[in-house]
Amino acid sequence: MINLENISFDHCIKCTICTGYCPVAKVTHLYPGPKQSGPDLERLRIKNQRLVDASLKYCNNCKRCEIACPSDVKIADIIGSAKWKYSKKKLSLRDFLLSRTDLMGRVSTFFSPIVNFFTRLSVVKFFLDVFLNIPSKRKFPKYAYKTFRQWFSKNRDSQENFERKIVYFHGCYVNYNDHDLGKAAVAVLNALKIGVVIAREKCCGVPLIANSYFKKACKNANHNIKTLGKAVESSDMKIISSSSSCTFALKYEYANLLELDNSPIADRTEYITEIIYQEFEKGNIPKMKPVNIKAAYHAPCHLERMGSVIYTIGILKKIPGLELKLLHSECCGMSGTYGFKKECYQISQDIGSDIFKKIDKIKPDLVITDCETCKWQIEENTVYETIHPVTLLSRALEANNS
């Protein structure tokens, strides 16, 4: 039966620009491209639900097709919900483990030295490759010891003194893997005279959506809408996140793809650099010491989709002594859990190969990107350290303080 909430495919005039911009279709014939998989096949799927192509799994949900579309067709959403509505999710231990970032994080942070040790063993990698179809060439991100939330609860008092406050959605990566980014975000916001509040949160749902665990994604989304909504309801506080994909999910995916009412948080949620940019514009610029480095900037797909890349570039330009090289905006290929799947690994590498070459040519001191999975991809395939723009900002501040 057809339920026609999303009929944007009807506006597709078949210009095929989206397929021209699709990073996956560019490197493999296994994926017929977003036009075919989205609007074209949607008509057939409405006719007969069984006409679902297996090739949909190659969509990496980068959303670049939606940016390219002149007819405002929600192509990636159509593909995403087709995976959900029409195909049966096969039981897969790998997909389960990859998408349960909260569960994996909570367990791993307890034994992080052991986990980190084991995930780097080639024997373990070999077994993961054979039994779970996780390519042995992939490096797993290191888990931190304990969580960011634990650190924050110890330092909560210092945030009370600020008049203005903001809700920080740290996301799983900051919580379980990279406390430094969270600390940097707090430091930068504090330097802007903004205090940080943290609400109860679950994984934003991006990996769950990517692996078609829509029910679980909806559950998490509802939880986040409720807790974040409650945190901001009695004030004019904004919600920010230092992860571009988390922000995108909170602000757009919940409503467009999961078809949930995210109105309590949608207008309040911004990507962190946008808030910082706005402060900078108002003249609220903390003192920074020159960093004196050359950096290449890679714009992640979901940030591009939100149109927020301009803010990141805006604040990077304000950092003294930074020679910024902008990379041509294209997908790095990692796309969250996509690059961790054996069947997609080669595609993932091929998509990113151009970026890796360009970075090597620039020979920067470091690479800057907003997205954690882009960071993993670039660090794995180049020799350069890759950091978040806010981390660089905090380094400039630190230099001043010391």
């Binding site: 057809i2 026609l4 075919q36 007969n48 007819s71």
Partner: protein, 556 residues
């Protein structure tokens, strides 16, 4: 001039004509079918594709209703791949006569049509896109039927059993010996070759054009053409046939047809001279969309793909001019008895639904004339493609590696013949038409087996160019295939592309707004901006079919 001899000559390649050709072939009678344009290019291909349960006629014309339900059951058996057993609903809107549905139920019972009243909630479950404000709902065994596939399958079977088909050939004269019609002369409109063919019986199955054919034979058979217009919606907004439960009127049915939905129909008298130039009027489009929206509210939000019209052939049996004698049922005329023209019969009236019955009646008369004692078997023997069904699971396994959407679409169009079409060679399942998933292999099959002479014919066999882009991305690819198969050279194929777009344009013009307008502009950029196709018209040879038709009509 080439000469042929046969038993039966059939004029008209619509459902009836191809049905007669098949019936003759099954009874072992040699038959030649002559069609002036392409299979199902007339009234057959210009209706809303409803597989009537008969309920629409039950109140007014119980005879037609019971004919429909009988044929409905037969077609579900023999033409499985041409029909879709969607089921149908009759719904009463608040503004309609609330008592009408009682009468409908009663009359359906009389005609033997299963008609059941269901709750509104149940109706909305069956068809979620229905207007939730409906008051009453009935279910009937309606379905959908694809007339192009039906005609093509009939003739395919006829030809495979020894029949002969000439398309794009126009009857120029009748060969007569005193009061006996001995045969016909005809000319191929593409190659200009002329033919003479002698037969024992000539059957006029040319529908509304039957009046002209009879005139050529010196006989008067009066037609009262009535135009019916329909609009096509970009995708299937309903999965079940939705009828409005009231006295038959304009815009009271929405039929899902393959990947689209159609809103039908209007009824307007037109003069006989205008039957080849009938166009959809603006007010008809307005009525259809307005009333369609009342049945399914989503109509207003959806792209309209095209609007088209067909001409119903209503026949006057005797030659009274006041039209009191017009019959809406099947009319079989033995001209020997009526006009003293031996060896000439006309079959007209009826509907797409009763094509098989009409063919049976005509072939029975042919047998009587030829003194052949054989009975009709068309109600038993399935059409090519509708034979024993392979289970979906088995088919998917058989074609593993080929995308399901391609296997499903091809099977939908060609039934079991899918096994002759799809091969695991990548080239064969490369797409020609991306909207309707027509592969190079399918085009190849159609050109070789389904009597394709140009891109428009190819469209009727495969759905090339029938999707949202209306040929923008597939016309040049199809033209390439035509050249590759040596149906035409490059220049002629380019001309075919023009003909194809002219024909598409005719249907798009009445609904040229919104997304359809943007689509057309994009098509224009490709074909005029990039290819300069428009510059080709002046000073080049080629088929120029569209123009010649009018000249030929003037000759009559």
């Amino acid at each position: 001039m080439q000469r042929y001899e046969t038993d039966v000559i059939i004029i008209g390649g619509g459902a009836t004509g191809t049905g007669i050709a098949r019936d003759c072939a099954l009874r072992g009678i040699k038959a030649v079918l002559v069609e002036k344009d392409d299979l199902a290019s007339g009234t057959t291909g210009r209706n809303h594709g409803l597989l009537h349960s008969g309920a629409r006629y039950a109140v007014k014309d119980i005879q037609s209703a019971s004919e429909c339900i009988d044929e409905n059951k037969i077609l579900k058996k023999i033409a499985r791949h041409c029909i879709e057993d969607t089921g149908g609903l009759f719904v009463t809107l608040p503004e309609d006569d609330q008592e009408y549905h009682f009468e409908l139920i009663r009359r359906c019972e009389e005609a033997g049509i299963k008609c059941k009243k269901i709750s509104v909630k149940e109706a909305l479950r069956i068809e979620p896109n229905l207007n939730p404000e409906i008051i009453h709902a009935l279910t009937v065994p309606d379905g959908t039927i694809d007339p192009f596939r039906l005609a093509a399958s009939n003739i395919l079977d006829a030809v495979e059993r020894g029949g002969t088909l000439f398309t794009h050939t126009i009857v120029t004269d009748f060969i007569r010996n005193q009061d006996t019609i001995k045969g016909i002369c005809f000319r191929n409109r593409l190659t200009k070759e002329t033919f003479e063919i002698y037969g024992k019986v000539v059957v006029n199955a040319s529908g509304v054009w039957g009046q002209k054919i009879c005139e050529q034979a010196g006989i008067e058979l009066k037609m009262f053409p009535s135009k019916g217009s329909m609009v096509i919606i970009d995708y299937r907004i309903n999965n079940v046939v939705v009828n409005r439960c009231r006295k038959p009127s304009d815009g009271d049915i929405i039929v899902p047809g393959d990947t689209v939905s159609l809103i039908g129909t209007t009824s307007k008298k037109i003069s006989y001279e205008k039957i080849d130039e009938a166009v959809v009027d603006d007010d008809e489009v307005e009525i259809l969309l307005k009333d369609g929206e009342k049945l399914i509210p989503n109509v207003s939000k959806t792209r309209v793909l095209r609007a088209y019209c067909g001409v119903r052939p209503l026949v006057a049996i005797s030659n009274e001019m006041d039209g009191r004698d017009i019959s809406r049922g099947i009319v079989l005329v033995d001209h020997e008895q009526r006009d003293g023209a031996k060896g000439f019969i006309s079959i007209a009236g009826g509907k797409l639904m009763t094509y098989r019955l009409m063919a049976e009646m005509a072939t029975d008369l042919i047998c009587e004339k030829l003194n052949i004692n054989k009975f009709c078997t068309t109600h038993d023997i399935p059409l090519p493609g509708s034979e024993k069904k392979t289970s979906e699971h088995k088919r998917i396994k058989h074609f593993s590696g080929i995308p399901k959407s391609i296997v499903g679409s091809t099977q939908f169009r060609h039934g079991e013949r899918v096994h002759r079409i799809l091969k695991k060679d990548k080239k064969s399942y490369g797409l020609i038409c991306e909207c309707e998933m027509v592969t190079a292999g399918e085009v190849d099959y159609a050109i070789k087996n389904l009597f394709v002479k140009d891109i428009i014919d190819l469209r009727r066999r495969t759905r090339v160019g029938m999707g949202p882009c209306q040929g923008a991305l597939c016309a040049y690819r199809a033209a390439g295939q035509i050249v590759q198969h040596e149906v035409a050279d490059g220049e002629d194929a380019s001309k075919m592309m023009i003909d194809f777009f002219e024909e598409r344009w005719k249907g798009i013009k009445p609904i040229l707004w919104g997304d359809a307008l943007r689509e057309m502009e994009f098509t224009y950029w490709i074909y005029q901006g990039l290819f300069g196709l428009g510059n080709l018209i002046s000073g080049t040879k080629g088929s120029g079919k569209g123009v010649e038709t009018l000249e030929e009509i003037d000759q009559f």
